[in-house]
């Protein structure tokens, strides 16, 4: 019974784990950023889920409704989404520069080149 009551959170956890796994395990820098986005989005869902009230409606006041969702997590997540896109944009800008400087967006190739550079110094 208890498990069913929290099914939303279980989905969040699955999403979170897959995003997190992509970030750590993938060598492609763009894929890492995609993983990061998935990871962040799962947290958004966590917040939005907790604001939901059964039989409630969107928090736009109207005479016809009595029960509303909690508006506070919505506000927090609006902010978090913006932070997310800002991070993604910055990360992609870095990827572009890395591609130009190293000629690759693969983690192992970049590290190899760094080691060579250190050896020659």
């Amino acid at each position: 019974m208890n498990f069913l009551e929290q099914y939303n959170y279980w989905i969040v956890i699955i999403l979170m784990m897959s995003g997190f796994y992509i970030v750590i395990a993938h060598g492609n820098l763009i894929k890492k950023l995609i993983g990061l986005t998935v990871f962040q989005t799962s947290v958004f869902i966590l917040y939005i889920s907790m604001s939901k009230v059964t039989a409630g409606t969107a928090p736009i006041l109207n005479e016809a409704y009595k029960v509303y969702s909690n508006p506070l997590p919505h506000v927090l997540i609006l902010t978090a989404i913006v932070v997310g896109i800002a991070t993604t944009a910055l990360g992609l800008a870095l990827v572009v520069r890395i591609k130009e400087a190293y000629g690759s967006v693969e983690e192992d190739l970049i590290q190899e080149k760094d080691l060579q550079q250190e050896g020659s110094e």
């Binding site: 929290q6 928090p59 006041l61 572009v96």
Partner: protein, 299 residues
């Protein structure tokens, strides 16, 4: 591409959860801007991926621990949708009950966003501004001299697209303005409006080429506008302070507190809109130009 679909799915999930404002933003940002940026960069970096995974075992281990921790955390959580959860009984009822008296606009999300927690939103605008500074600092100047090759615009050959696009751009901009000023009543507000407005410009750039868009909108002016948006928001706070209130205390802006709240919210939403629209434009145009050039060279 899957990214975009994923975002749209998330957005529709948010609608189900009654978070219309959030859904609106996620749809505009995740499915729109974010996907466009990803595709732009992918076009440069190539689709090739080294199949090799890095320390997959360690990664799996870390992820599993995280997952187990979270599952452990869910055991004592209040049930999903529970009306008596602490989240619903503390603080939140205040917003829902008092917002009508304190601020008098129907969209409670807007009143929390713009007034009760207005400082967070100010921080959010600053985050966007910071991202613009970062992207510009990294991508604005290339070391190589400008290669003035007149490469054709990406979709120049599609006549139908161009005409349809031309027709579409003005309504999109109008819609952005509607969203901007209607945020107090329905879902929407400065942030969403800014993104939509920027989307119109981005569409223009995709259809007619980045260079022609850069001719149409002057980059230095756009840059100044991005800064001005932040300043508008901040100055509302400072004016409130000069009028004897606290920072961002809109009540101090006019004789009647409610009017003060309305004035404050409209002005800060404008600041948000300006910064976000210009920021998204700057980010996209800077990316597109840099990446376009790199592609031109490799071709």
């Amino acid at each position: 591409m899957l990214m975009g679909v994923y975002s749209l799915l998330t957005a529709s999930f948010f609608v189900l959860m009654d978070a219309v404002d959030v859904a609106f933003t996620e749809a505009a940002v995740g499915a729109g801007i974010s996907t466009i940026l990803m595709v732009t960069v992918l076009s440069m970096a190539g689709r090739f991926e080294n199949r090799q995974l890095h320390h997959p075992r360690i990664a799996l281990f870390v992820v599993l621990i995280t997952g187990v921790m979270l599952v452990y955390g869910t055991f004592d959580m209040p049930a999903f949708g529970d009306l008596n959860a602490p989240v619903q009984t503390h603080v939140a009822p205040y917003y829902l009950q008092q917002s009508a008296q304190d601020i008098d606009i129907p969209n409670v999300v807007t009143s929390v966003l713009a007034s009760y927690r207005g400082f967070d939103t100010f921080g959010e605008v600053v985050v966007v501004f910071t991202a613009v500074i970062g992207v510009l600092a990294m991508l604005e100047f290339s070391r190589k001299p400008d290669t003035t090759g007149d490469e054709p615009a990406p979709m120049y050959q599609h006549k139908i697209l161009r005409i349809v696009g031309k027709i579409l751009i003005p309504p999109i901009m109008l819609f952005a303005l509607y969203v901007q000023f209607h945020g107090e009543y329905g879902p929407g507000g400065g942030f969403q409006a800014g993104v939509i407005f920027a989307a119109a410009i981005i569409l223009h750039a995709m259809l007619f080429g980045v260079e022609s868009t850069r001719k149409a909108v002057s980059m230095p002016v756009v840059k100044v506008l991005a800064a001005v948006g932040v300043l508008i928001y901040g100055s509302v706070g400072v004016v409130a302070m000069l009028n004897g209130g606290r920072f961002l205390e809109y009540n101090a802006l006019a004789e009647n507190p409610i009017t003060g709240q309305h004035v404050g919210i409209i002005i800060i939403e404008l600041g948000v809109g300006i910064t976000v629209a210009t920021a998204m434009m700057l980010i996209f145009l800077t990316f597109a130009r840099r990446v376009g050039k790199a592609n031109g060279e490799s071709a």
